[in-house]
Structure formats: C-alpha cells, structure tokens
C-alpha cells in the first residue's frame, strides 16, 4: 500500500529523462509475477531505465523514500524473485541491453544486464565465440536475471552454474553507490579476473535475487564455438545405475565436451517417446535415461563418447536410440522444448522447484518425488535432473490448473521444498519459493542478514526474496 512517503518518491521519479516511468494501473498488470507459481505482487510503478546512471538515480530516490525496488529482467525464472510482494517499484532492466565490449584477447564479453541470451549469442557468433552457460529460456531470459537467480542448463556439465562464468560485475548499491568487483575494481586493469585483490565480492551478487544490489554490467568469459555436435542416450533399469554412471563421468572429469546432460525418469521417458513414437510408448521402456549432448572437437567428442558408453555399460546402462531420436533430434529442436525447462509448460501451468544435490542423493531425491506423487495425485508430478560438473540440479514439477488448483499446487510445492531439504538437497533458484528453507539454515541466514543490513540498511531491495526483509 502506498504511503505518502512512497507516493512522493514515485512522483519524484517522474522527472526522469533517461527512464520510462509507468504508473497507470493498466501498465502495471503484466509486471506482477514471473513464470513461477509464487503469488503475484502489485507494483506501484515500473521504471525502465535506459542507462546505469538512471538506475543510480532510482535507487537514491527509493532509498530516501524507503520504496521497495524489485529488479527484473526477462522474468522467466521459476522462483518468484521478481514478484513485487511489498509493492513499490519494479525496476525493469530490459532497457539496459547493450553489449559494451567483446574483448577477444582477454576472452571477455561485458554487457548490460538486460541483454537477452539470444541477442548475446548472435553477437558472439561472428567472432566464433559463445558463453559457457545458457539457460533453456534463452530467447527471452536476460543475462542479469541469470546472474541474479543462478541460471543453469546447457554448459552446466562443463561449467556448473552461470555464476561460475562471471568474471566480475558492476553493481549499484541501495544508496546509489556504484562498485566494480573482481579485477575491474582497479580502473587500470578492467575485467579479466574474478579472484583477486581480496574476497570474492562478485559472489555476493550471484544468486542474490537483487537483494544486495542491482547489477548494471557483468563480464562473462568467452569460449570458442564448438565445432562438432553428437548426442547419445542410455537407458537404465534403476536410479542407482544412472547415478553410478554420472558419478563415474564426474569422477573422471569426462565433462569438457558435454554441453548438456540430463537424467529422466520413467514417466518423462514414456511421455517423450509417446510424442514421437506412439507405437513404442506402451512397450518395455527403461526406468531411467541419461541424455548427453556433446559439443567440441570431433575427435575428442568421439573419444569421450566411447568412454562414456563404456561407463554406461558398466553401470548397467544400454544405448537408447529411440530416446535420443525423440528427445534430441525431434523435441529439442522445437520452440516448445526450448521454452522453460524442456517444454513442460506445454502441458499446463507448472510449478517448478529447483534444488541442487550431490550426485549420491539422486535416489533420495527420487524418493521424495515418489512420496509427493502419492500425497498429491491431483498434481501430476514430473522430475528431471541436470548433470553438473559437480553434483546435480533437480527439478520437481507439479502440473496444475491455475484457474482451479493454484493454491493447492503452491502448498504441495512448499511441502516438497521442506522434504527435499531434509533429504539433503539444497535450494537453487531461490527467490521467494525457498525463503523459509533459507532462513532455516540459521548461521548462514544470520550472516546473510548482517550483510543485507550493511548493504541495504533500509531494506528496499527485493524484500521477501531469500527470506530477507519480508
């Protein structure tokens, strides 16, 4: 609800020249939520700055007026981080969409947070370059959003998480102060190295959902475009087999030519096969599948593929060409399968909970999924796992009818979140959906709150995210 102080602050924003200010209630409606099932918020204004100076000015005024500010990129995340639960301002960073520098000598691209992955990849392609981690929401997701919410996806087997590809950031703090991190803290040096000078201050802003500052520029490491692509899938009779296989691949670090790898359970396998080979969907199918997308130099890809085929066989796996054909050659070439977590949204609205886990907890993760299925048969539950350099990212997906089942689906996901933590998984893509669990990690949460108080003493930045300042 607007206070006189808030309203005065918002009125003062109207004097901007380098930002678009939206206050008409009609214009605010589309800025209430992201892709998640988390409850929408109600912003009192949307400000779309054209440059970093305008961001500074917004934050200064918001800081003075104690107006909540929710930084927003493509709003394609599943965790409600940009949903403005405390009202205030949605800071739409999609207008900061310039690629500031492509430095091939340093192997760095510096860009503003509103650059969409699709645009960045297009700009890098003529240079024979790409970036390490690209989420499945690439056509609309922004690099700033990916940084703020720990994006993952293609590239995770080699590089783990989007944050691992960040060489430094420029951030605007709550009071409007601009700071560069990593080597760029030295104006003479610029961006080239993240771990230097002192503690890794870049890391403070990765996965922070905009709670500690607003990133106005980020430097990403470049990588050569892979020359060759090959995909393969293996079927397994149980979770233990696929877990052993992934563990062995990770232990031997056979990940340098894997662009993407995911493990899928029986229900997903059956759905995918049915979409492409309906006549085979009722036949005997593996209980688990490991799908691997190799990218790299052709001879190295072939070597790794042969090694991994042997590892799969040694773990009880067998080649699964039908899944390879269905998943990689047909479905993932569709728009649908690039749209938010491999096209699950095609079925219905879908509440997604992402967690991270050590590979040896895959079985425990699947047990939680199975218990949830029994408890909530009304929300068909899907589970999928992305292989990382270390450990796994697991997605729990509850399909629901938003018109009739929204509240129940959210409650089921909250229960699932707690069960996953108890099973040894940790929150990933945290936003608001995992807020309660974050606060349950007592010492960590206390340190987080102390940092928050120092950087954002008035608590204006993304209140509610990570359980901070709700």
């Amino acid at each position: 609800m607007s206070t006189p102080e808030t309203e005065a602050g918002l009125v003062s924003l109207g004097t901007f020249v380098d930002a678009t200010l939206l206050t008409d209630p009609v214009d605010l409606v589309p800025y209430r939520r992201d892709t998640s099932a988390v409850a929408p918020g109600r912003p009192e204004a949307v400000v779309r700055p054209d440059n970093a100076e305008a961001v500074v000015e917004v934050l200064r005024r918001a800081h003075r007026g104690r107006i909540p500010v929710y930084a927003r990129g493509g709003a394609t995340m599943y965790a409600g981080g940009v949903n403005p639960h405390a009202g205030g301002i949605v800071l739409d960073l999609a207008g900061l969409d310039r690629i500031l520098e492509i430095d091939l000598d340093r192997g760095i691209v510096v860009c503003e947070p509103g650059v969409r992955f699709g645009a960045l990849l297009s700009a890098l392609r003529p240079h024979g370059q790409t970036i390490g981690v690209v989420p499945s929401t690439a056509p609309t997701a922004t690099v700033g959003g990916a940084l703020s919410a720990h994006a993952l996806g293609t590239g995770s087997p080699q590089f783990q998480s989007f944050g691992d590809q960040v060489a430094g950031v420029e951030v605007v703090l709550a009071d409007g102060q601009r700071v560069k991190t990593g080597s760029a803290a030295s104006p003479q040096a610029g961006y080239f190295q993240r771990y230097c000078i002192g503690p890794d201050l870049t890391g403070l802003f990765l996965g922070a959902d905009g709670t500690l500052g607003v990133v106005v520029a980020l430097a990403l490491w470049l990588h050569p475009l892979p020359a060759h692509r090959q995909t393969n899938c293996y079927g397994f009779a149980d979770a233990q087999g696929v877990q052993r296989c992934i563990q062995e691949i990770q232990r031997r670090e056979l990940v340098s030519n894997i662009w993407y790898a995911g493990a899928y359970e029986a229900a997903t396998i059956k759905t995918r096969i049915a979409q492409v080979f309906p006549e085979k969907a009722e036949g005997p199918l593996p209980q688990f599948a490991l799908a691997v997308d190799y990218r790299g130099e052709a001879d190295r890809v072939r070597e790794d593929e042969e090694r991994i085929a042997r590892i799969a066989a040694g773990s009880g796996g067998a080649p699964f060409p039908d899944f390879n054909e269905a998943y990689f050659r047909r479905l993932r070439t569709d728009e649908i399968y690039w749209y938010s977590f491999a096209g699950f949204f095609a079925i219905s609205r879908c509440a997604i909970l992402m967690s991270s886990m050590p590979t040896d907890r895959l079985g425990a993760f699947m047990e939680v999924m199975n218990r949830q299925r029994q408890s909530y048969p009304q929300y068909p539950l899907g589970a999928a796992v992305v292989m990382c350099r270390r450990g796994l990212h697991g997605g729990a997906l509850a399909f629901y009818d938003e018109a009739a089942q929204w509240e129940g689906a959210v409650a089921a996901m909250e229960e699932c979140a707690q069960a996953l933590v108890e099973a040894g998984c940790v929150p990933y893509k945290t936003g608001k959906i995992w807020a309660r669990q974050v606060q349950g990690f007592t010492a960590y949460a206390e340190l987080l709150r102390r940092i928050k108080r120092e950087l954002d003493p008035r608590g204006i930045l993304s209140p509610g995210d990570l359980g901070l300042g709700a």
Binding site: T35, F345, R349
Partner: protein
Amino acid sequence: MATMGGKETQPHLTEFLKDLYHCSDCGYCAEAVWEERGIDHVCATLRSHSPALSYSGQGYLKLARAWVEGESLPLPALTERVFSCTGCGNCERICPIGLRPMQVNRALRRELSDRGVVPETAAAIRAHVAAEQNPAGAPFGDRYGWRDALPSLTQGEALYLPGCAAAHGRPAEARAVVALLEAAGVGVQLLGDADRCCGAPLRELGMAEDAKRQGGLLEARLAERSYDFLLTSGCECANTFAGVERHRSFVAWLAEALRDRRVRPKAHGDLPRVACLESCQVTQAARAGREDDHQALHDLLTALGVEVIGDTASPYRLCCGAAGGMAAMQPESSRAMARARIREISGAQALVSVDPRCVAQFAAARVAGDPPVYGVAEFITQHFVIAGGEG
C-alpha cells in the same frame, strides 16, 4: 475515473479462459530474440509504442485475465492499449504452446465495443464505413474513380471487388487487376454504386455486430448479380469471403492463369530484384489452412524470371502497421511501424505485396532512396507486356 471490473461478465473473453490461465509468461510474444530461429522484434506494437508490456500479446493476456477476475481497470488506458494492437498475429505464430493473444485482444475489443467504449477514432471508422463504405472516410463517389478510362463493366464471368484498400488507397492496383483479367479474356463486372464495404475493418475493431450487418449489405448486392466467380484484391476482404465457394483471391487466380498460359507476360527491360512483402492477413489465412497467397506470389514471380529475395532474415516479420485500424487510429505509430519494416529489408530494388492495404501503407511511408512499392498486378503490368491467352 471510469473503470471496468466488478461483477460484470465478459462473454467474449470467457471463450479464451484456457489461454488466460495457461500463459506462463515466457515472453516470446513480447521480446524474444533467437537468431537460430530468426526471431527478433516479434511485436510491432510493443516496439513502436512503448516498452510497456501492456502493449503486447503478453500484456493483453494479463489484462484480460485481470478483467475476468473482476479487477477494476481504468477505462481510458485499457481502451488505448487494447486498440493499439495491429493484429498481425506474430504473437500467435510464436507462442510455443499455441495460445491466442491476438484473438484475446480482439475479444477485449469486442467487450469494450459492446459497452460502447471505443476510441474516438474507432467510432469515426464505424461512421465512415456507414456513410462512405470505407474506413478512411474517402468519398464513396471516388470508389470507382480509377475506372474512368475503362469501359462500363456490368456483365462478365468475374465479379471483381477491389475492396476499400485498392479502390481508395491503391487505385492503380485495381486498374491493373482489371487489365490483366481482360488480357486473359475474362469478362469483368464491377458493383459500382452498388458496392459496399465487406465489414472487415469493423471486425478488426471488435465491432462484430456492425461488421456482420455491413457484410450482409454487400451479400445482398452480390445476390443481385450473376457471375461465375468472385475475385478480391484486399486480403481482409479475402478473409471475409473465406469459404465462399466461388471466391478466389486475385493472386490465386493470376497464378493459375499464368500456369494455363491464359496470360503471357513478356518482360520489357531489366527486371528489378524483388522482395515480396508478406501481409499479416495472408499469413493468418495460410495458418488457418486456406490458400497461401504469399507462396503463390513468390512462385509466379519466380516463374516470370524475377529474382525474388527474402525480405528479412526473420520468419516473424514486423507488421507494417496498416492493420487493426492503426493507420487511421494512430497514424504516427502506424507510419513508424512501416518505416521500421522498410528498414528491415535490404538488397531489394522493388517491393511487391499481394495486399493493397500494405502497398498503400508502404507507399505512404516511403522516403527518398527506398525501393518502389507495387501491388502484384501493378508490378506485372508495369514490367511486362501482357499478351492474351493461347487459343
């Protein structure tokens, strides 16, 4: 301030509840960029009006849902946003899960129109159609002004309806159509003073009942004539007559006439390199399973030896801003859209479209250095000598 909301019902939106509740905010219909699929700048309205998402397919879905859920929304702003959509349909082509934001926009327009809430300019279009039988308000007496040099055409196997766009906005195209029909030995008749607007401009504005009534007027006039087939230039007219047994679009007829050698054009001089401008109306018709007039145009020009180049790298071409009543309601934005569309095209020496409304729009937005713009019939009559049929 006047608002919508409360306990009222929205029968036209109810049809789209699945769309409203399934939309997952992926944003493809607003600001997607994906080079591999040629996707960029999907929404001409969002690009030309404001960065506010309320001017996009995504926004229309959200606004419609808020209204259905009983939220009070300020009427003037809602109306302005809703009547800013060109209706190009890119949002529906790109939606990964097959939702229908453009049709939701049209349903929103219908809800507003049913309540008598339309922009003044939209009301003016309705008045123009009633008084002058065209959305621009051009004098009805000028509708067949282009026919002055032609004989009176009251009988013939083909009844040609130029439509408002060709008759008033691009008379050269109407004249060229008749010339090509005659060259093929086809007897042409025109409605002349009996002609009426088919109602398509009103349908675009959500004035469904008015559109139906207007269409009925034209149907009655057609029923008074005897003809073998009905031919239209305007793509929106073609959509009005979709499914009518004896109806053909002009370009479909021309493609067939060239194949059968009933028309034998012979190029005089060098032919320009052509970019074929897609009409959103044609794209939508093709998606609905009707004849693909773009393909017909491409094929017939290629068969005539014209070098045809792609008009953009993207399959999601920006709308030229002519549709949805935009040219009349928001002329500045509409012209900006046409300029943006022209800037997308490179390497063409001439632009050709099957849709006279697009041609008129591009022609009005052209500046020095832009390639000339033609309707398909105009292009052929200007660059070829037309010989009649064999035998």
